[in-house]
């Protein structure tokens, strides 16, 4: 309090005030900057791209496809930009979303933003289904993700295509350096869930997870018979879409899941671009 009054006395000192008034007259002349303020018209999602197959607007990276799809589900206006540079992201990973306000969102904050603003376009599920949905997401994010990471980063046959997609745009020898760095990160992540990286076991578990997911989906359009897609659909679609498009796929995808992913692709992704 006394500090405040002390400061006020200083600031209201007549000499101080007249100095301030004098300084306010400067600069005497002001140019207008030729550089306009850059503002986004729409939120922008920075992703890895382009996709595995030519003409695909979906990213080759599962995380990017997930958020792309979820934003598409919500029918919110957004544009995607293939930046291929994870250092741009606050989390060090792509994707991230920049809102027109300038806020930068990653992961859960994107989900929160979408569910807060556009919940009308998303399916509604009850508490029980919400719990089930969380377990399917966890299943996909462990078993399917293991298989995907192993396929991309640990299969010698896939090294060249993974290299081309993730680091091919860098100058030599940064490409090799960064490839090793990303590979190390992927292996490190795998080792947090699997003490020993056994190829057969990893693919086997992914096959089992896909069977469970396929059974849960059944013949319905979306999970839990919802008429509109929910977050779990974005997650499952992203894995199946990437698995189906990787040149050297090692896991079995059930026919109902293939149909499901084609439908979502045609209805939400293709129509939107």
């Amino acid at each position: 309090m006394s500090n405040q009054t002390w400061r006020n006395t200083i600031n209201n000192n007549p000499i101080q005030q007249s100095i301030r008034q004098f300084l306010a007259k400067f600069p005497l002349k002001t140019h207008r900057s030729p550089y306009g303020v850059r503002e986004l018209d729409d939120p922008r999602l920075y992703i890895w791209g382009p996709g595995w197959k030519s003409g695909q607007e979906t990213s080759f990276d599962q995380e990017c496809v997930k958020w792309q799809t979820f934003l598409k589900f919500s029918k919110s206006d957004f544009e995607t930009k293939r930046s291929n540079e994870p250092l741009m992201s606050p989390s060090g990973k792509l994707p991230f979303l920049i809102l027109t306000t300038g806020d930068v969102l990653v992961d859960d904050s994107i989900e929160k933003h979408v569910t807060d603003m556009y919940s009308d376009n998303l399916g509604r599920i009850n508490e029980q289904q919400e719990a089930d949905s969380q377990s399917f997401i966890a299943l996909a994010d462990t078993k399917l993700r293991n298989a995907l990471l192993y396929n991309l980063w640990c299969e010698p046959a896939n090294e060249s295509i993974t290299y081309k997609k993730y680091v091919g745009h860098y100058a030599k020898p940064l490409d090799k350096l960064l490839f090793q760095k990303y590979k190390k990160l992927a292996v490190k992540e795998l080792l947090t869930r699997k003490p020993v990286l056994n190829k057969e076991e990893i693919y086997q578990e992914a096959d089992e997870a896909l069977i469970a997911i396929s059974n849960a989906l059944g013949d319905s359009k979306y999970f839990f018979g919802s008429s509109l897609p929910t977050f779990v659909d974005a997650v499952v679609f992203s894995y199946i879409h990437v698995i189906l498009n990787i040149p050297l796929n090692e896991v079995q995808v059930q026919s109902n899941l293939i149909k499901y992913s084609e439908k979502i692709y045609n209805e939400y992704i293709l129509s939107g671009f």
């Binding site: 400067f26 140019h31 900057s33 850059r38 540079e85 250092l87 860098y170 100058a171 030599k172």
Partner: protein, 474 residues
């Protein structure tokens, strides 16, 4: 001087001491006279015989342990070619001076003598250099202040690594906000010439640019340099490759800064010429300074540009302690093969050491109030008048009046270069002010009251008092 006769016992009579002093002084004077005469005689002798044919019969060097013979061979080569006494003395003197400046010996004493070799021809001279090598390891610590930041550094050095006057330096520096540096450098004089050195270095550097541009930059690089002194000045020719990472983008960074994040590899050759004729680096009173810098990037890697920079300063003493100083700087970065230059390569302008009245790197292109984006072309100029201060004329303190200004722009690759450069002249930011300058033994301190006269609406102004601490001021 021999002091054996000096009465050591203090209780002996004063007279005796006085007598001793007198005779001693006389003896001293006599000895000096003898020396003088001998020196004149020697001088005359040398002068008379300077054109007589002599040659160096042998060159002996005492006191070396690690230094290789080949180093001496290259240093004394021209002395061995000399054929008159005068030129032998000159060349030996030059060689001793070179050895001295290689910084590997504590002292070098030269003796010339008539050759003692019975087989020697008439006119043969033996040259004996007696030396003592400096210790091999040394550590240096220091602090640096400048551009709103301080840093502490330490360097570990190994002298005369392979016996050819090579130096190996490991340098570390950590700063309050600006940077973290680690450098490893091996330097070698060419042909034993201390004015011509090649060095190879590997470094890692972290720059914290958060305060004006919301990012950090991490550099890893290697460079091969050749530094040489010529009649024009000091040259440095560098071939280097560096991996630059723009990272740790602040949460509220400008969009363009966020989009400039990433890795790039620059491979370039650069030439720097510095001609510094000033009487002092920090607060000169006379002389001029010119620096020219050219860089061509794009040998491999993904950065392609031509960069030119010119810096100049001239100082005149006006008498009675008044000094006039003027400076002019400009730079041009011209990217090719790519749409836009990288932020790591661009110029920044503004600050107490650059253009007063503006914040550190607070001028030039920016999208909103926050981040400086840097520019591809700049011009900056300033004039200063330093005045003596009453009662302080004996101290390195001066009054200071200045007007300085500058302009920094991006080059739009779709426009013609002339149009971009025209904008540079049209929109200068100018400020004027008055203050006090103090030059201490290690840095220059300035306190100025600054008034921006002309500015661009996006410039970050520093109205009123501005403090400057550092070595290099414009």
């Amino acid at each position: 001087m021999d002091n054996d006769e000096f009465p050591l016992r203090a209780h002996e009579s004063d007279e005796k001491a006085e007598e001793f002093m007198n005779t001693n002084l006389e003896a001293k004077a006599k000895k000096y006279k003898e020396y003088e005469e001998a020196a004149i005689k020697l001088n005359n002798l040398v002068f008379d015989t300077k054109d007589c044919p002599f040659y160096v019969h042998s060159f002996r060097i005492h006191g070396t342990q690690k230094t290789r013979q080949s180093l001496f061979e290259s240093v004394v080569y021209s002395a061995l070619q000399a054929r008159t006494l005068g030129s032998i003395i000159d060349e030996v003197h030059l060689a001793a001076d070179k050895l001295n400046r290689l910084d590997i010996f504590k002292h070098i004493d030269v003796f010339l003598d008539k050759s003692s070799d019975p087989l020697a021809q008439p006119g043969a001279i033996d040259v004996i250099l007696s030396t003592e090598e400096k210790s091999r390891f040394w550590i240096k610590t220091g602090t640096e202040i400048g551009n709103d930041a301080g840093s502490a550094n330490i360097s570990l050095n190994i002298r005369n690594v392979f016996g050819g006057a090579e130096t190996l330096e490991t340098y570390m520096s950590a700063g309050t906000q600006t940077s973290y540096v680690f450098e490893f450098c091996l330097a070698k004089p060419i042909n034993g010439n201390p004015d011509s050195k090649v060095d190879i270095s590997a470094y890692r550097l972290t720059k914290n640019n958060q305060s004006f541009s919301s990012h950090d930059e991490i550099l890893h690089g290697i460079a091969l340099r050749w530094r040489v002194l010529s009649k024009l000045g000091f040259h440095e020719l560098t071939y280097g490759t560096s991996w630059r990472q723009i990272c740790n983008i602040a949460k509220d960074a400008t969009l363009s800064i966020r989009e400039s994040a990433g890795h790039s590899l620059k491979s370039s050759v650069a030439h720097t010429l510095v001609r510094d004729m000033r009487d002092d680096i920090m607060l000169p009173s006379r002389g001029y300074y010119i620096k020219l810098f050219q860089e061509l990037a794009g040998f491999n890697g993904d950065v392609f540009f031509v960069k030119n920079e010119f810096e100049s300063q001239i100082n005149f003493p006006l008498g009675k302690g008044f000094i006039f100083s003027a400076s002019l700087r400009n730079g041009l970065l011209f990217p090719f093969k790519t749409q836009q230059s990288k932020i790591s390569d661009r110029f920044f302008l503004g600050g107490a050491q650059s253009v007063r009245g503006f914040k550190l790197n607070g001028m030039g292109p920016r999208e909103d109030k926050k981040d400086s984006l840097g520019g591809d072309a700049y011009v900056a100029a300033g004039v200063s008048l330093f005045t003596p201060l009453p009662k302080l004329s004996r101290h390195p303190v001066k009054g200071h009046f200045f007007v300085n200004g500058g302009s920094l722009m991006q080059i739009n690759p779709s426009q013609r270069l002339a149009v971009s450069l025209n904008n540079l002249a049209k929109m200068p930011s100018v400020s004027a002010g008055v203050g006090v300058v103090y030059r201490s033994s290690i840095l220059r301190l300035e306190v100025n009251f600054c008034l921006p006269l002309i500015a661009t609406n996006t410039d970050k102004l520093k109205k009123g008092l501005q403090l400057g601490l550092g070595f290099n001021f414009w």
